[in-house]
């Protein structure tokens, strides 16, 4: 392999300057609008996920802008201007190539570290949840059974069930399926967990904001997959306790 000729570094500096001047402001303008992103998150776990999403998104946008700028610069600057002399026939530049291997390695290393921390937090299950709900998915609706109380709610595709949960307390959800693979998904919680026959999948939710949240099946499960909906109603702990006492 031959080395690049010595003019290389100057040209790199030049394009970096143009990228900071021209492309960064455009990128900021395009992605500044929050409503085109995921929901802010209504559980403590979701808020951690949302923070991680922000880091990944902005890292991605920064890398994207740099690479786009380099591509567009090459296309505009080096388009053929009926130059009779052929361009320099350099075939590589090992120091430069090592650099652009090591820098991405460092970037993904940091991203993995941040991911690992958030994942530990999201996947953590409390030894003493305040409420435990057994969720059974079936074609094509859901059954919610509150452990230790006998309270049960079941839905149909036409009458989606409502899962009532307390705000500010740790809720353990254990999902399974009685037929095919489904997935318990609440977009406002930025979370889903597959409901798999023969498997009991447990996770914790710490709901931070009261409200009614849309829930859906996220794993394709056949004919009425699109109608396999539910809602989560998050109420203050006192209201939840009295709801549990009712009927």
């Amino acid at each position: 392999m031959q080395f690049a000729n010595s003019g290389e570094p100057a040209v790199v500096r030049c394009s970096l300057r143009s990228f900071f001047l021209r492309c960064v402001p455009c990128g900021l303008a395009l992605s500044g609008c929050g409503s085109y992103g995921p929901p802010a998150g209504s559980t403590r776990q979701a808020q951690a996920i949302h923070g991680l999403w922000g880091v990944l998104l902005w890292t991605g946008i920064a890398v994207g802008i740099i690479v786009y700028a380099l591509i567009l610069w090459s296309v505009l600057r080096y388009r053929n201007r009926s130059d009779a002399t052929p361009p320099p026939q350099f075939t590589g530049n090992p120091p430069l190539e090592i650099t652009w291997t090591v820098i991405p390695l460092l970037i993904v290393g940091v991203l993995f570290f941040l991911t690992y921390r958030v994942e530990r937090y999201v996947q953590d299950v409390s030894p003493h949840p305040a409420v435990t709900v057994n969720v059974t998915a079936f074609r094509w609706s859901w059954r919610f059974l509150y452990q230790g109380s006998g309270k049960a709610i079941a839905g149909t595709p036409d009458q989606p069930p409502q899962l009532v949960l307390p705000v500010g307390q740790t809720v353990r959800v254990i999902v399974t399926s009685q037929d095919v693979v489904h997935s318990f998904y609440v977009p406002e919680f930025l979370f889903k967990r597959d409901a798999i026959p023969g498997v009991k999948n447990a996770f914790d939710l710490d709901i931070a904001k009261p409200g009614v949240y849309r829930g859906e099946c996220a794993e394709f499960c056949g004919l009425s997959h699109a109608r396999m909906l539910f809602t989560v109603k998050a109420v203050p702990a006192a209201a939840f306790a009295s709801w549990m006492q009712s009927r």
């Binding site: 994207g64 296309v75 690992y116 977009p187 859906e216």
Partner: protein, 544 residues
């Protein structure tokens, strides 16, 4: 140039004839390559029409253009055809045509096996689609056919069995082609064509072939096990009888993720051929490109369970780490392509336009891929339209744009005449915005929580607008594709002779005639670098 043993057992060559029967019984790698590419392109057009039907159904909330069952058949066949019958086989067809030419061989190592591969692929594809003629309709469990949804006890009929049998045939065809390409590129190289002088496309096909050999046997196993569960009373994936549905997902994705690279590496190879030629420079960092392909191949068999983060059944951290890591060699390739353009003299005929379109689209798919390597973020976006957007940026904006670059680049070599530049450029300038209008809004829909594979969706704020935008974009994209089909037809009515080397190509295939003779080369120039055709022109120019 060829092995003498292979020469001895091969039947004597007959004169090339355009006879229909001659095409049916051909063992010539070039004809098989052309058949492979044309057949897979026909599947592309069919699968594209299915996609337009999907977009019509989703143009507004609450539509019933098709019913839920037909919708499930539509996206199952769309995904199956695009993945198994178009993108991967087109790459194999292109390799069939190019690899023997690029290494300076007269044919593939096993010409008859090659013909068998092609006909098995055709039969497999037709078998998959024949399900549509059965009473229960075509397969409707998605291209991934998760057990136990794909079990007969959960409703799918004979169409599902035909899908399984069809894909078993396609798997066998792919495995045989993988062996054939590997043997050809390792053992049938012309004198002087060392491994470090192979064109980057051939290198990418070597890695692709190795991945085929690793990935397709587990797929065939998974398919056979589903068949046993369905028809022979098995319980591999039936939890009620001690089976395990997660096992299917492991087997399927152990195939499924290397398959993603089987569908992209050949097209990394394509742009590694086109960009240097249209930059009038050698490829930048040849060794880096080859090593990054090998690194991608190695890492790609360790990322499969990132499709399973939401199952709660896998060690997310390991698969997350490897999935982050695989972005690095892909990034290296990007910088090498930019380095190739750097300080070159770029011209922009249609193949170069599609190659740059590939760079612009694939970059977005690559970045969203890194975001999805993070399990907590994946808990939100898994199985939403964000994934649909990502995979189409990789496969449609990436692979398919590179396929169009390959069509415009090598068409003159294959048929001896050029495709029209005007229609080609129109095709590109419709496909690029059409593609981005179709798939960019899907990122946002996914982040809002729109799940995949739903026949309809609620009229929540903004959902209708973005879906309508995607449908409008898909029409523009389809018209762009149609222009290239029209271009092929019009250009063949008034063929403009291309000459042997219309682009100033670098690799060996540009030395021979267009189209090449049946045995490929009357003579072969001295091979002293990875650019033998370029070296030959330089020598000729210096000669007194």
């Amino acid at each position: 140039m060829n092995g003498t043993v292979a020469e001895a057992v091969r039947p004597p060559r007959k004169a090339q004839s355009a006879d229909f029967v001659a095409w049916l019984v051909t063992t010539d790698h070039k004809r098989i390559g052309v058949l492979y590419m044309c057949t897979s392109f026909a599947f592309f057009l069919i699968a594209g029409i299915l996609a337009l039907a999907i977009r019509a159904q989703l143009a507004a909330p609450g539509l019933s253009v098709v019913g839920p069952h037909a919708f499930n058949e539509l996206f199952t066949l769309h995904g199956t055809a695009m993945i198994f019958l178009f993108v991967a086989p087109f790459g194999l067809g292109l390799a069939n045509y190019l690899v023997p030419l690029q290494v300076g061989a007269a044919d593939m190592a096993f010409p008859r096996v090659n013909a068998l591969s092609y006909w098995l692929f055709v039969a497999g594809g037709l078998t998959v689609f024949s399900g549509a003629a059965t009473n229960g309709g075509a397969a409707d469990a998605g291209w991934f056919a998760y057990a136990p949804l794909s079990d007969i006890r959960n409703g799918s009929g004979a169409g599902m069995d035909l899908w399984i049998v069809g894909l078993l045939m396609v798997s066998a065809a792919s495995i045989m082609t993988g062996i054939n390409l590997l043997a050809t590129s390792l053992l049938y190289r012309a004198p002087g064509m060392t491994m470090w002088r192979l064109p980057v496309f051939t290198w990418e096909m070597i890695v692709t072939s190795i991945l085929i050999l690793m990935a397709f046997p587990p797929l065939a196993t998974a398919l056979a096990m589903v068949f046993v569960d369905r028809r022979l009373g098995g319980h591999f994936f039936d939890a009620a009888h001690g089976g395990n549905p997660i096992l299917y997902q492991h087997l399927f994705w152990f195939f499924g993720h290397p398959e993603v690279y089987i569908m992209i590496l050949p097209f990394f190879g394509v742009v590694s051929e086109t960009i240097p030629v249209f930059s009038r420079k050698p490829v930048f960092g040849y060794v880096g490109l080859v090593l990054s392909a090998l690194a991608i191949g190695g890492l790609s068999v360790g990322v499969w369970a990132h499709h399973m983060f939401a199952t709660g059944a896998v060690t997310n951290s390991f698969f997350s780490a490897v999935s982050f890591l695989i972005a690095v060699p892909t990034g290296v390739k990007f910088f090498n392509w930019i380095g190739t353009m750097w300080r070159g003299q770029l011209t922009f005929p249609t193949p170069m336009l599609f190659s740059i379109g590939f760079l612009l689209n694939f970059l977005i798919g690559g970045i969203t891929g890194v975001i999805m390597a993070s399990p907590p973020v994946d808990f939100h976006i898994e199985d939403t339209y964000f994934i649909v957007a990502h995979l189409h940026y990789v496969l449609m904006g990436g692979s398919v744009f590179a396929i169009f670059a390959a069509i415009y680049f090598w068409f003159p070599k294959v048929f001896g005449f050029r495709l029209g530049e005007t229609l080609g450029k129109w095709s590109f300038w419709m496909m690029l915005p059409g593609f981005n209008l179709t798939f960019f809004p899907m990122h946002v829909l996914g982040l809002w929580g729109m799940p995949r594979r739903v026949v309809t969706y609620p009229a929540l704020a903004g959902w209708a607008h973005l879906n309508l935008l995607a449908t409008a974009g898909s029409v523009l994209l389809a018209l762009g594709v149609l222009l290239t089909v029209v271009n092929v037809w019009l250009s063949s009515r008034r063929p403009t002779p291309a000459g042997d080397d219309p682009w100033g190509g670098y690799s060996l295939e540009w030395v021979t005639t267009s189209p090449p003779p049946e045995h490929n080369y009357e003579w072969i120039p001295a091979i002293r670098s990875e650019r033998p055709a370029y070296d030959m022109r330089q020598t000729a120019a210096k000669a007194p």
